[in-house]
Amino acid sequence: MQTAEAWVATPLRQFLDDARVRVAVLMNASGQVLGQAGFARSTDVMSACALAAAINATAGELGRQLEGKPFEGVHVAGRDQQAHLGVAPTPRGPLLLLSVFDEHTSLGLVQVFFEEFRARIAKAALAIDASAPQLAADFESDLNRNLAALFGRT
């Protein structure tokens, strides 16, 4: 597992250990990666983040149109693997956790441990210094720095 921001490490590690998913990536709603496990290449992480952010935006809008509030999770069942995308609200904004899993775990377990992850990450976010400068102004270089940190190329 690698994280671009230290405060996400413990909750993400706990989720990975409990849920036993194959691959996971944590990002903010804009698709900026905060942590990942199981990916071999940074390009795969970038793709996954971009797609997940788009899926979340679409699912959210669909929920608003159908039910007046955004859908908060997406589950896709493939033949051999499944994907789960969940939203974790935090004081630093919503985070998205995309995980891919196989027969070694189950949707029920991923959902249960994702709920626990939501509580932990929200608590961890509260402990962060709220005055830390926001990075959105220089998104591209932040993304590249995060990816470089994740793949050991600082």
């Binding site: 409990d18 194959r22 691959v23 199981g38 071999a40 249960v112």
Partner: protein, 294 residues
Amino acid sequence: MSDEIHRLSDELAHDPSSLAFLRLAELLRRSGDVAAAERVAQRGRARHPGLAAGHDLTARIAADRGDVAAAEDAWRTVLRLMPAHAGANKGLGFLAYRTGRLRDAEAHLAQAARGNPDDETIAVALATVRAELAAAAPAPPAVVVAPAAAVPAAVPAAGPAAIPAPATHVEAAGSPFADLSADADAILIVDRDGLVLTGTAPAGQSEREAELGAHLSGVSDEAERAMRHLELGAWATIVIEAPGASVALAPIGGLIGGDAVVLVAVPRTTPLGLVRRVLDRATQLARAWLEARA
């Protein structure tokens, strides 16, 4: 072979604590990539320092490199973890023979033979050593008998023939569960890595025991996780009734038992109450056996 190497590499990348490192390093070793095999083995050993198979693998890789001292060191670690490990005894026996220590060679090969009475390579090697001891030969011969196993070991060109890959571990005779053998088809002590420490193996069934231990040890991991999250306390017994047998598990517990479990397989027709009694008795015997080896 390269497909399997890729598959195992992927598995290990996904789960660095997977035991797939054993097979992967072995395949790399056989393909001649000793450096890669050593890296894989080293990482696996760091994650599983108590796993005898990891140290056994290290020893064989060191032997391929011709590093006798490292190979001996690793096999001695194996014997500290598993005193009756046939492979380690065989490896040390051959190393001792290569370096002229015939008495040591004889002792190790004799121990290996006790655990592997049907292994002809050990029998022939032991006979060779004993013959030389009897003739009081001053130096080891240029050629050592190679085993039938299809695992070549690379050695320096100037040295004697390759050190053979040791055979799979077989527990020595003298099971602590002899009294219960009439009530159960199998009783095993399995460590947290799913490896059998001892059990009631019929002759030649050590691989079957190993499979049983490996498959069923995962159930205790799963139970431990479930109990932790459900706040039901530590699990005490698990009984799984299947068409072919009833299988019962219990943690041995305490400082001696650690994460080891005792596993009992009984005929399916055995009443559940009796299964529990056999399991209780087996757990007591397992604890006593471990304490005697502490």
